[in-house]
């Protein structure tokens, strides 16, 4: 499974964590390509502290965050880390966004495996049975 993670809000990152977990459970390899707002969501200083919510459902953000805490739903980032432990999940940072935002390797969370350009990601994704853009 290959997912292009474009979004940086928690409501859209949650399915990234859940789908990655599901794919690993079903014995699939996963390639995650974090680009644009997605890349900002895997910065060390944002990855676990992120509470941004999509603008169109902003009014429900606080309630959902509360519910997730109450029901002990793990953070999306911890889901990805856990999936990495159990199976083959590769976390790629988009080099174009990385350069555009003037990032360094130290800015990115340890879950990141490498910084790659779109060509390499497409080449990895071309054989994936499931491809998603989130």
């Amino acid at each position: 499974m290959a997912i292009i993670v474009f979004s940086g809000t928690v409501d859209k990152l949650m399915p990234v964590g859940v789908l990655t977990s599901g794919a690993i459970a079903m014995d699939m390899d996963v390639d995650l390509f974090f680009t644009f707002w997605g890349l900002t969501a895997i910065r060390k200083d944002a990855v676990d502290a992120n509470s941004r919510f999509s603008k169109d459902f902003e009014d429900m953000g606080a309630m959902l965050s509360q519910l997730m805490k109450q029901k002990q739903v793990p953070r999306w980032s911890d889901m990805v880390r856990n999936a990495k432990k159990l199976g083959n999940v590769r976390v790629h940072a988009c080099s174009m966004t990385y350069d555009l935002m003037g990032m360094n390797k130290e800015d990115l969370d340890d879950m990141v495996d490498d910084v790659i350009a779109v060509g390499e990601f497409i080449d990895r994704a071309r054989d994936a049975k499931i491809t998603l853009f989130i």
Binding site: G22, A25, M26
Partner: protein
């Protein structure tokens, strides 16, 4: 996620042993049954309790 807990637990137990998942996720029974079938394990029992299900799976390989 109950399925992920099961995937983890299944690696810990010997072949032939069972793991029982207690899940309040209403999708777990179907999810786990499908997973077990795909992975070659066996769902040996499903019990519906008040507010949660108990799903027992035997490791087959």
């Amino acid at each position: 996620m109950p399925l992920m807990k099961l995937v983890e637990a299944m690696k810990e137990v010997d072949i032939g042993r069972t793991v029982e998942v207690w899940s309040s996720d209403s999708g777990s029974q179907r999810d786990i049954s499908r997973w077990a079938e795909k992975m070659g394990h066996e769902v040996v029992a499903v019990n519906h309790e008040q507010g949660y299900d108990r799903i027992k799976v035997r490791r087959r390989k």
